[in-house]
């Protein structure tokens, strides 16, 4: 993930930036990570690792989301 996109994803997870994907699983994952961060049960690095794994697993779908997030 490019640095600029990574920063935006971190902002999304902190709730400072709003992005809704057309991919239900991605929205569920963002929501889950936001909830865990708010509860303090995980740190940002752990969340970003999970986001990376998800996006790497589904490159066809991730390409659209990463382009949309970059454009935010």
């Amino acid at each position: 993930m490019e640095v600029a996109v990574k920063e935006k994803v971190e902002k999304i997870l902190r709730g400072e930036l709003r992005y809704t994907s057309a991919n239900l699983a991605f929205n569920m994952l963002i929501s889950k990570m936001q909830k865990r961060l708010r509860a303090g049960s995980v740190d940002m690095d752990t969340c970003m690792k999970e986001m990376d794994e998800f996006l790497a697993k589904y490159p066809i779908v991730a390409k659209v989301d990463l382009a949309n997030i970059a454009a935010l």
Binding site: R18, Y19, T20, S21, A22, N23, L24, A25, N27, M28, L29, I30, S31, K32, Q34, K35, A39, E53, F54, K57, Y58, P59, I60, V61
Partner: protein
């Protein structure tokens, strides 16, 4: 597509890989083969919504590289995240009212790795005018269950991915009161409304809320519904569980259910869903009998699985293909 029994038998005997939904009286007549199934007599077909015990709804799974079928009880249902194909799709059917469905409903959202494995499916049901029993079928072994889930693991060829999505006509009004629950549960007595503890059934009665409208939770812009099953004796029961630490609001009232449904379907723009299932509550409240909603044909179900159990929603799955380089 809806087919007669002899056509379904022919497809099975030809070795086709199939997902089948039908009344139990038909499913029990099918031969062994590469299929899984669940009971329901309600469908959205190419001809429109209908109830029939004369025909079966069949999806051919012609995009699979290979498949495996397994069944699970409440103690091992979450093995699905370990036993699925790395690049695949898991199709899951669970009987309504079974312990395995309850376990899945309550715990799936917290299962690690679940979102990494596309999982789509439904809760099997029965004719609502009878005291029927919901069943699922593992056609590969020729067995049916009322207490187990059946999963078909579908391996997808390289360059293809499964994408699961939903059509939900409901959303919330962020100025409405926030409702929170104390636990992950299928029935509750107490909750908090804007931080104040209330008896939920009394709150519903006092505010005159139309319980055809589900509770909705905003999962980063994807709204997940929890529909109310009953309000009685100080207790409110649900078709899918509510979860602690999730903010709920009652859905904004929908005046013309069917029109709103069509509007959302047009917005979704799915081209070729390989599986879709629509909730029995949409069928009933939206008067979908006789209504066509192409391209979303499939069983009408007692709950939908889009990773976790949801309801009052249309869930569908598409197979996406990587663009040639």
């Amino acid at each position: 597509m809806l087919v007669k029994l002899d056509e379904a038998v022919r497809l099975i005997n030809e070795g086709k890989i199939l997902h089948i939904a039908a009344d139990d009286s038909l499913l029990r007549q099918l031969p062994k083969g590469k299929w899984i199934g669940g009971t329901t007599p309600y469908f959205i077909s190419e001809e429109g919504g209908l109830m029939t015990k004369e025909r079966l709804f069949v999806n051919e799974i012609d995009y699979a590289e290979e498949i495996r079928v397994e069944s699970y009880g409440k103690y091992n249902i979450f093995q699905i995240v370990e036993e699925c194909y790395d690049n695949g799709l898991t199709m899951l059917i669970m009987p309504y009212g079974s312990l395995v469905a309850t376990k899945y409903a309550k715990e799936a959202p917290e299962v690690e790795e679940l979102l990494m494995h596309p999982t789509v499916g439904w809760i099997s049901g029965f004719d609502l005018t009878t005291n029927g029993t919901a069943s699922v079928y593992d056609g590969t072994r020729g067995v049916s269950y009322t207490d187990k889930a059946v999963a078909m693991y579908i391996k997808l060829p390289e360059g293809k991915s499964a994408m699961i999505n939903m059509i939900n006509i409901f959303s919330d009004d962020k100025t409405d009161p926030v409702i929170r629950f104390y636990d992950n549960d299928l029935s509750v007595t107490k909750c908090t409304v804007n931080g104040q503890e209330v008896t939920f059934s009394e709150y519903i009665k006092k505010t005159g809320i139309d319980t055809k409208m589900p509770l909705v939770a905003d999962y980063n812009g994807s709204y997940i519904n929890t529909s109310i099953k009953d309000v009685a004796d100080g207790e409110v029961s649900f078709y899918a569980p509510v979860f602690r630490n999730i903010e709920y609001r009652f859905a904004v009232n929908v005046d013309d259910y069917a029109a709103r449904f069509r509007e959302k379907i047009n917005e979704a723009g799915a081209r070729n869903p390989v599986l879709s299932c629509n909730c029995i509550l949409n069928y009933q409240f939206g008067n979908l009998s006789g209504q066509k909603i192409p391209p979303y044909t499939g069983p009408v179900t007692f709950g939908e699985v889009a990773y976790q159990l949801i309801n009052q929603t249309l869930v569908y799955c598409e197979i996406l293909e990587e663009e040639p380089k």
